[in-house]
Subunit: 327 residues, 2 copies
C-alpha cells in the first residue's frame, strides 16, 4: 500500500508555506534538562500564527486549490485550532470560509475564528455527527470541505514543523533519540514521523493522547483502526478525535510509532510548567506531549528528546486554574 | 567624549556568546498588528536561558575574565534577572558566584538563582545601599563585582538581542520606524540603540520605564543624570533603578532616545495580553515596552515597530492576578 505522504510532500509543503507560516524556534530549557536528566528540545507551535500548528496544514491545503475552487469557498469542521488555521489561511487567500464548530468549543477559539473573517456554524458535539452537519451546511454549493487531518496536503503541511526541528538539530549536529507528539486524528503525528524517520531512522516516535481518547494507542497495538467511546471526555479539547484517519494511521504504523496516554491532571500540570518554566502559553491538548515527558512516561535520562507544544489557545480562566493547582 | 560601546563591541559580544546564548525568534502576531494598525515585531527575550536577556551580558562579561579572576569568583547585586544571568553564566564557566539580592525579590528569582549554584546574600532594598552591601560582602577577597548595567561588556552583550532583530529584519527587507525597549539602568537600551542607529539611522528609540522610576526619561530631557525618589515603588521589580548609568546614559543621549513611562496597571494588562495573545509569559518589567505600545504611547498606525519582551520571571500568583484583572 502506498502511504498518503512522503518526505517530498513535506518538503514541497515547506516551500509552499514559506514566508507565510512562522518558523518557530527550538527551545532548550535548563530546568527541564536537569529534570529529564538529558537534553529536551521543545518545539513551541503555540507561537505559530493562530496559536497552533494547524495553520501550516491549512495554508498548504487552501493555497493548492484551483481558482475555481477558491471562488466557491471552503468549509471545515473543527473544535477550534483547525478552525482558526483554515479561517486565517482563507482570509489571506481571499477565500470565503465557513466553519462548523461544537457549541462547547472554548469561547476564545470561537471568537478568534470569527476574528479571521470566517462564518461560524455551531453544532452539538455529543448528539450530532459533525460530518453530517458539515455536509448539510455545504448542500450543493460546491464548497470544498477541508478535513482536519485525513488529507495528504494537511498531513504534509503539519509535518513542516518537524522539518524545521530536523534542520535545526542537523545544524547543531545532534541526533535525537525520540519524539513526543500530541495526537488527535494523527495529522501532526503522521507528518512529523514521516520527517523524523527520514532524517533520524533510529528515532522512536510517540503519539500522545488523552486517556479517554486512546484510539491511536490501541490502533497501533491491534493493527486496526480502533475507536473511542462516544461519551468520552477530556480537558484536551484539541485532541477529541474518535479514531485515527484512514490516511494518517498507515503512516503512523509504518513509522513504528507507539502510543502514550496522559490524564487531565497531567495535562494541567504541563500547562503550568510551560507557563512558569518554559515561558510559553500551552493549552491542555497542546501540552499533552510535555505532560507525558513530565510524568515520566518515557525514559529521558541520557537521551535527546524532542517534544512539541502544539497549541496555546487556552481560556485565561483555565490557565489560571492550572497555575493555581500546579505551581 | 568616547562612548562606552560601539557596534563592533556588540558584534564581538555576539561572537563571544554564540552557541551558549539562545537565538530568540522575532514574532509577528496577527491580532497585535490589527490592533496597532501597523506591523509589530516582538522580540521575546523571556525565551532566553534564565528567562531574560540578562544572560547575554552576563556571559559576555564573565567569559572575558582572566583565569586568575575566574578563580577568585564573581559577585553581583541584583533584584533577580541579572542574578540569574550571572549565576548561570558562572555555573557554565565554573566560577563561584555570590549574589546580593533584595529580601523582597520574587521567591521564584531567589530559588532560580540558587538553582544555578550561586550563593545568595539578602539585603533590605529600602534601607540599605546595595553597592555598600556588595562591597562589604566582597571584603578583600579579590572577587570581581559584576555590575548590572554600567559596564561595557554587559551593555554590548545586551545589545546582541537587537543585533538578532536587525539581522532578521534585514533578511525580510524591512526597515523599522521605531523600537520600544524596557529600561531600568539602561544596559539593554544602550546596547539596543547602538545596534539600531547603526543599521537603521532613522529609527526612533524609546526607553520605557515605570512611572515612579522615570529617571531615564527625565535625564534625557534635562541632559543630566537624574534620580528617582528613594521611596519609589513599582510592580516592575526588574526595572527599579534609581538613575541611568554613567556609561549607559551618554549612549542613550547620543542615540537620540526618548523616554516613555507606564503605570503598574498598564504593565499588568500587557502581562495578560502577552499570555493570552502572544502565548509567552512576561513579567511586569519585561512587559513594559509592550505596555507602552498597548496604551498607545507611540503612534503605531502604518508604522513598523519593534518591541522587546525582556523577561518572563513572574510569580504564578501575580500572573494569575493579571489574567484575572485584564483578560
Amino acid at each position: 500500500m502506498t502511504l498518503a505522504i512522503s518526505i517530498d510532500d513535506v518538503k514541497s509543503a515547506a516551500e509552499q508555506i514559506e514566508g507565510v507560516v512562522a518558523r518557530t524556534p527550538l527551545i532548550e530549557n535548563i530546568a527541564l534538562n536537569k529534570l529529564a536528566g538529558g537534553r529536551v528540545f521543545i518545539k513551541p507551535e503555540c507561537l505559530q500564527h493562530t496559536g497552533s500548528f494547524k495553520f501550516r496544514g491549512a495554508y498548504n491545503r487552501l493555497s493548492r486549490l484551483s481558482d475555481e475552487e477558491k471562488a466557491r469557498g471552503v468549509l471545515a469542521f473543527s473544535s477550534g485550532n483547525h478552525a482558526q488555521g483554515v479561517a486565517r489561511a482563507a482570509e489571506l487567500l481571499g477565500i470565503d470560509a465557513t466553519i462548523v464548530m461544537p457549541e462547547d468549543a472554548p469561547a476564545l477559539k470561537l471568537e478568534a475564528t470569527k476574528g479571521y473573517g470566517a462564518k461560524v456554524v455551531l453544532y452539538d458535539r455529543y448528539n450530532e455527527d459533525r460530518e453530517e452537519v458539515a455536509n448539510r451546511v455545504a448542500g450543493d454549493s460546491g464548497v470544498t470541505v477541508v478535513p482536519p487531518y485525513n488529507d495528504s496536503f494537511i498531513m504534509a503541511g503539519q509535518g513542516t514543523s518537524a522539518l524545521e526541528v530536523a534542520e535545526d538539530l542537523n545544524v547543531l549536529g545532534i541526533t535525537p533519540d525520540q519524539a513526543l507528539v500530541c495526537c488527535g486524528g494523527g495529522g501532526l503525528a503522521s507528518g512529523s514521523f514521516t520527517v523524523y524517520r527520514h532524517y533520524f531512522p533510529d528515532m522512536q516516535g510517540y503519539a500522545v493522547e488523552p486517556e479517554a481518547f486512546d484510539d491511536v494507542a490501541r490502533s497501533l497495538e491491534s493493527g486496526n483502526i480502533e475507536s473511542v467511546d462516544f461519551g468520552a471526555r477530556s480537558i484536551c479539547d484539541a485532541l477529541l478525535t474518535p479514531s485515527p484517519g484512514t490516511l494518517t494511521f498507515p503512516v503512523l504504523q509504518e513509522a513504528g510509532a507507539k502510543g502514550l496516554t496522559i490524564s487531565d491532571d497531567e495535562a494541567r500540570r504541563a500547562v503550568a510548567f510551560a507557563s512558569n518554566m518554559l515561558k510559553v502559553t500551552a493549552e491542555p491538548g497542546g501540552a499533552a506531549a510535555l505532560a507525558a515527558l513530565l510524568a515520566g512516561k518515557v525514559e529521558t535520562k541520557d537521551r535527546v528528546t524532542v517534544c512539541i507544544i502544539s497549541g496555546g489557545n487556552i481560556a485565561p480562566e483555565l490557565l489560571k486554574q492550572c497555575l493555581e493547582d500546579f505551581s
